[in-house]
Symmetry: C2
Subunit: 206 residues, 2 copies
DNA sequence: GCCATATGTCACTGGCCGGTGAGTAGAAGG
DNA sequence: CCTTCTACTCACCGGCCAGTGACATATGGC
């Protein structure tokens, strides 16, 4: 009946992992407003003292989350990107925009971090934000590859605007389900947004 | 020496106005995270009990702020919009986008409300958010006027995306001064963003 | 002048927060 | 068996919060 390997009651590694997982869950599910030492400890089922001992408090915990965030790219982006060699720059950016939209829609943790960045400026949040930004940049660069944007277009700023519009829409959809008069609830709503997005991208990149 | 009209020590109207002004200042300057009964009372220099009596607590206070928000349009938008009759729809949207950008950059209160919408979903915030959304919609409609968008373009969704990109950029600039790898600090940064924005608008609206 | 009421203040409760020092219990080594 | 170290828990602190009931004082009608 008994497992040969009993659950060790005292296992620092396991406890650290439990705390980190609890922290990510609290942030993703309850939001950054409710995120705190007490909430994480409660969710992890251990005393908050352990968070101070193992992670050095909230800031250390956020750094640990930030480190994990590097894997976001691998989790959400198709690695091989097969057949991409035949795309124009506009096609590439369209694909990137749609991937970013779906990735953000599927990942509440990253959404919360994105919202947190806009709400507060503090050292821990800045670090977390930087980790996300770095992951995002490496992702864009990886996809950009060999293709060159059309001349006369500031691709960096333009792409930032496109990413910005997507992020704002997704964040607004979660809290209010709408933005600037349009609804953002059903799959149909998102399809309309996707096609408008495609038009914008191809409009600017030809 | 004495003024003929002495300052009345007990003046409900004046006190209400002082509380409302204090609330707006707290929200605009300290952010929604620090916004609360105590903070507002402290800033207004009166007891928090008065906030409960005169406004019915935080939610009533937020509704009062929302009502004031209707004047946002009048404050920031040139009323006559002279010479607009000769613009194309693309020119119109370009003008609208740039106006919205500058208005948001200049108004910390509205920025905070916009950020609050993204951070929290609660009844009071929802109402405040609706007031802002309504003001925004009436503004767009007023400017839209007689011009029709090109056929085959979903102008509502497209415009929402443009507004979203601007809002995200402005909110990000305040807390972190950057977004998606671009800097958002100097006037030059914003000029680059403005020209990219123009290109996008004219790209999609021809 | 007198009193009712509107206006404003004070003191308090209960709850949650981040943070800390002291104590407990299991595991490892002799 | 006994010590020693490590993992872990408990109880507490001060501070801030929202909210409330009791109290003080000015104002205006009579």
């Amino acid at each position: 009946m008994n497992e040969t390997v009993d659950k060790p009651l005292r296992d620092r590694q396991a406890t650290e992992a439990r705390i980190l997982a609890a922290a990510k869950r609290v942030l993703a599910e309850d939001g950054f407003k409710l995120f705190g030492i007490n909430a994480v400890a409660r969710r992890a089922g251990c005393d908050k003292q352990l968070i101070y001992r193992y992670f050095g408090g909230l800031s250390g915990l956020l750094e640990a989350i930030g480190s994990d965030l590097g894997s976001w790219v691998k989790d959400h982006i198709p690695e091989d990107s097969g057949g991409m060699f035949l795309l124009t720059y506009g096609d590439l950016m369209e694909r990137l925009a749609l991937l970013f939209l779906d990735a953000l829609l599927a990942d509440p943790l990253v959404r919360q971090i994105a919202a947190w960045e806009l709400a507060e400026e503090s050292e821990p949040v800045r670090k977390l934000s930087e980790a996300r930004s770095k992951a995002l940049a490496s992702w864009i660069e990886r996809m950009g590859g060999s293709l060159q944007p059309p001349k006369g277009v500031d691709a960096t700023v333009t792409n930032a605007l496109i990413i910005a519009s997507i992020q704002q829409m997704v964040l607004a959809s979660v809290t209010s389900g709408r933005f600037a008069g349009i609804s953002l609830k059903t799959g149909k709503d998102w399809d309309k947004l996707r096609s408008a997005l495609k038009r914008i991208v191809h409009g600017v990149y030809g």
